[in-house]
């Protein structure tokens, strides 16, 4: 009798709270099966800001689907469950956490981390377990040269970013805004991201010696603390243009020290950095007139981009950067692949992603993956303008494109 009472008490203690939780959990009927989507992001550490944006973007895309009653796969509606882990911006931890998501959490699909170095650390896992992995945080072409079949990336390569920058410079030279040939001091982070960037710069300089002359080619350590010795060499090079490939924390530190040292170049670009809200906040007017190559910008006037910008501002009270747009579109791409495959089977979803053509707010309007898994959307060149505004200055064929202010005004 006592034993029976004890068993009843235990059952009540376990079952009642579980029942209450099941009843009060919003938006998900108790019988609805779920699809687990895992992601490992740098929510702390050097890339904490960007990782946070990715989490917000992924969550928004997943919530959009859950609000409509879940994802329809093979005649069955599924609730989407996003599991997010923090790697602290550490590559070794990042890789093992992705593996943990697969082996402990049994996730069905994976969304990628941020940045190139962390995506490179993670990318060995998906092929091992045949789990499709879509990322929007790693743009180095090296990620897609390793022969992995389950990795898909929505960012066009950094090589293309750098090439777009060089093409833009050539157009400005043709318009008489920059000298010909332009002497360039190029510094790049010592990662595959940076190598992609400098490769395109040196390739362009070799192909067009009449347009570009690289007078300084230096690498620096990712997440550096003090760039003043390097900037001293930029100064000594007397270059007319300063090109740097840097991630957000390094961009903020480097450009702050650039301005403090009283440097001036007619053309300054930090790759994809410059219009980031965090950067503009940290640098104030010092970030005005910087040129950047981007995958997306809130300055785009197409309805999808405008709608996304408005939604984001309403929900998070900040202007979205490309990080948020790309993470949102990356999650959408994965969900579209699952929808197209009509199954949760990893290899079949992988095949569906390989032939996916998803209408998107990204430039070009469509996300399609090349045979190596990387998307090839066109780049936009933008210029920061005073008052925390940005204008699109390239390509010419967009209605919102305006002429760039070059040479950059002296501070």
């Amino acid at each position: 009798m006592r034993i029976r009472l004890f068993v009843r008490a235990v059952v009540a203690a376990v079952a009642v709270p579980a029942l209450v939780v099941a009843l009060v959990t919003p938006g998900r009927p108790a019988a609805m099966p779920e699809i687990k989507i895992g992601t490992v992001l740098p929510l702390t550490g050097a890339f904490g800001s960007s990782g946070g944006y990715f989490k917000q973007g992924y969550t928004m895309a997943i919530d959009d689907v859950n609000k409509t009653g879940g994802l329809q796969v093979g005649g069955q509606k599924y609730h989407l469950n996003l599991i997010v882990l923090d790697d602290g911006s550490d590559g070794t931890r990042s890789r093992s956490l992705v593996e943990k998501l697969v082996t402990d959490q049994h996730v069905n699909f994976l969304l990628g981390g941020y940045d190139t170095s962390l995506v490179e650390a993670q990318e060995v896992v998906p092929d091992q377990y045949k789990i499709p992995y879509v990322e929007g945080g790693g743009a180095a072409s090296e990620i897609f040269k390793r022969g992995y079949r389950y990795i898909f990336g929505t960012l066009a390569t950094v090589y293309d970013l750098s090439k777009a920058t060089m093409d833009f410079i050539a157009a400005q030279q043709a318009a008489g805004r920059l000298p010909k040939p332009l002497t360039i001091a190029a510094v790049w982070e010592n990662t595959d991201h940076g190598k992609d960037y400098i490769d395109a710069v040196t390739d362009a300089a070799k192909a067009h010696p009449d347009l570009y002359r690289v007078v300084l080619n230096q690498s620096f350590q990712l997440n550096g603390s003090d760039f003043s010795p390097l900037l001293q060499q930029v100064k000594a090079s007397n270059a007319q243009a300063f090109l740097s490939d840097a991630h957000l924390p390094d961009f903020i530190t480097m450009h702050r020290q650039y301005l403090q040292a009283g440097l001036y170049n007619q053309f300054v670009s930090y790759g994809a950095r410059g219009p980031d809200q965090k950067g503009r906040q940290a640098l104030g007017a010092g970030a005005d007139y910087l040129i950047a190559g981007l995958w997306w910008t809130p300055a785009l006037k197409d309805p999808a981009s405008q709608l996304f910008t408005e939604r984001w501002q309403k929900e998070f009270k900040v202007i979205p950067d490309w990080f948020q747009a790309l993470s949102y579109e990356t999650a959408r791409a994965l969900l579209a692949g699952i929808d197209k495959a009509g199954t949760l089977d990893g290899p079949k979803v992988r095949d569906a992603l390989a032939v996916l053509a998803l209408r998107s707010m990204l430039p070009g309007g469509v996300i399609k993956f090349q045979p190596n898994g990387q998307a090839s959307t066109p780049y936009l060149m933008v210029q920061n303008t005073p008052g925390n505004t940005v204008r699109i200055v390239w390509p010419r064929n967009l209605p919102e494109t305006r002429a760039a202010t070059l040479p950059m005004p002296r501070p």
């Binding site: 550096g224 003043s228 001293q232 060499q233 000594a236 403090q260 501070p411």
Partner: protein
């Protein structure tokens, strides 16, 4: 690259950087000198110094230089409290105990900052943040000049305090021989608490000054920790004059190395100097000259 103008410019940068390096390493040297404890939490207090300066700036529009000075008494008290509550209890144990405890404290400070301020880059922009002053044919960042001048002034004050006050003399006596200091009637426990307080005050002060030059996150401080270790090893661990020389050596080595090698190898310079110092001159540069202050 090797023009006279560039070399002079590199020298100016190095001298200004050396001032910053010295001020961020003094605290570490004082604490090691008095109690032979390597304060791994120094980087945490450096970071906290930067964030506190941000708080003053946001709440009262206080200039970072004033903020750095305001940090000094607050961090002194915090350091003394850390000594009394934590360090004193493990001081007599194996060095690994204090190392691990202070490393743990660093992690706690990092996580506290992460909880309060998040992981985003923070920065303080003043009216003079982007100003550069003409100096003959060169332009020198005003903020670097300010940091250098303030660091020099504080070092001079510290020198006076160490040489002309009872506490300073007692502190130096404890550095030289704790047993003899005790026999001479010096309350070495109190002096140790003061030393930990001064060391922590220097970390908070340096963190405040560094907001003039760098943006910062809760991870701020970690890259400077290695530099501080290199500097105090070069300086002879407990020798304050040696710390100044060590700071100058590291600053010059880092700046000139960029002329010969990739800037991405900048940290290698600090590691190499650390190894060379430990093997070739474990007593630091001061021992090469046969004198210790």
């Amino acid at each position: 690259m090797f023009s006279a103008q560039n070399l002079i410019s590199v020298c100016i940068t190095s001298i200004l950087t050396a001032g910053l390096y010295a001020v961020m390493s003094y605290g570490l040297a004082i604490i090691y000198g008095v109690m032979k404890v390597i304060n791994l939490s120094n980087a945490g207090f450096l970071m906290l110094g930067a964030f506190m300066t941000l708080v003053y700036s946001q709440a009262w529009h206080l200039d970072p230089i004033a903020g750095a000075f305001l940090n000094m008494p607050l961090f002194f008290l915090a350091g003394a409290a850390v000594y009394v509550l934590l360090v004193r209890r493990v001081r007599q144990a194996l060095p690994i105990a204090s190392l691990l405890m202070l490393f743990g404290l660093w992690l706690v400070l990092q996580n506290v900052a992460l909880t309060i301020w998040g992981s985003e880059d923070q920065s303080i922009i003043t009216r003079y943040t982007y100003k550069a002053l003409p100096f003959f044919d060169y332009r020198v960042a005003l903020t670097r000049l300010i940091v250098f001048a303030v660091a020099l002034a504080v070092m001079a004050i510290l020198h006076v305090l160490l040489n002309h006050t009872y506490v300073g003399k007692a502190l130096r006596a404890t550095v030289q021989d704790p047993q003899a200091a005790l026999l001479a009637g010096i309350d070495t426990e109190r002096i140790s608490a003061i030393a930990f307080g001064i060391g922590t005050a220097f970390a908070g002060f340096a963190g405040g000054l560094m907001t003039l030059l760098f943006s910062f996150t809760p991870d701020f401080g970690a890259p400077f920790q290695l530099k501080s270790f290199t500097i105090i090893v070069l300086g002879g661990l407990e020798n304050l004059a040696g710390v100044t020389i060590g700071a100058a050596i590291l600053a010059f080595a880092e700046s000139f190395a960029v002329l010969f090698m990739r800037a991405s190898l900048q940290n290698v310079v600090a590691y190499a100097l650390l190894v060379v110092a430990l093997i070739v001159m474990p007593g630091g540069v001061a021992s090469l000259f046969g004198r210790r202050s």
